[in-house]
Amino acid sequence: MPDASPLTNRMKVLRAERDWTQADLAAHVGVTRKTINTVERAVYVPSTILALRIARAFGVRVEQVFWLEEE
């Protein structure tokens, strides 16, 4: 049975620390602003590749951006 734990992220905090808009982050990652918005709001669960690209854009490890919420 797949793990149903929701994927949580701190993209908003990391963006705020860098004074980035969603469009700025989208530009760094190479996706649309809508994609960043839906990932940030946990509406869309990104692939491993996209999660790694987002983490790379922030210059941090992926687990510092995304983690599974403790049950």
Binding site: A23, D24, A26, A27, H28, V29, G30, V31, T32, R33, K34, T35, N37, T38, V39, Y44, P46, S47, I49, L50, R53, A57
Partner: protein, 154 residues
């Protein structure tokens, strides 16, 4: 290594994305209205009193032309996106592909539900096969595009 999109390019990405959504909204709206008018003309035309002759025909023609124009605009935007690798990566990203797949599934299941409903109605009332075929295509296409537009809101 994958190239990043500049902030200026990101504004262009957003602009093209908005144009794509607008074209798709126009496409589905004119398609639905066109189909309603065509089917009204074909199956109810002689029963609609008070309308000047051929009103529905000319209305259907205008809506059909509008549908084609929105379709051409959407195709033109698609070609513009394909021609630029950075645009193509941004505007055809994994979320877009994901919601496109979900929208196709929505169209498929809508068609299935429509056919089941038609089958049940046909037990009581005879329904022309041509009407079922045309309505089925309309239901599948419109529901797939509407599902895409709903899922694409970000």
């Amino acid at each position: 290594m994958r190239e990043e999109v500049s902030v200026e390019s990101q504004e262009r990405v957003d602009r093209i994305d908005r144009s794509r959504v607008t074209a798709l909204k126009g496409f589905v709206a004119s398609y639905v209205l066109w189909q309603v008018t065509v089917l009204s003309d074909e199956f109810l035309g002689h029963r609609l009193e008070g309308l000047p002759a051929d009103t529905l025909f000319w209305l259907a023609l205008a809506l059909g032309v509008s549908w084609l124009a929105f379709g051409a605009r959407h195709a033109w935007i698609g070609r513009k996106i394909s021609a630029d690798p950075a645009l193509a990566r941004a505007l055809d990203d994994e979320r877009t592909r994901h919601i496109r797949g979900t929208a196709y599934a929505a169209g498929f299941w809508s068609l299935g539900a429509f056919l089941i409903a038609v089958r049940l109605v046909a037990l009581a009332v005879p329904i022309p096969g041509a009407l079922v075929a045309q309505l089925g295509i309309a239901v599948a296409l419109a529901s797939a595009i509407i599902a895409y537009l709903v899922l694409d809101r970000g």
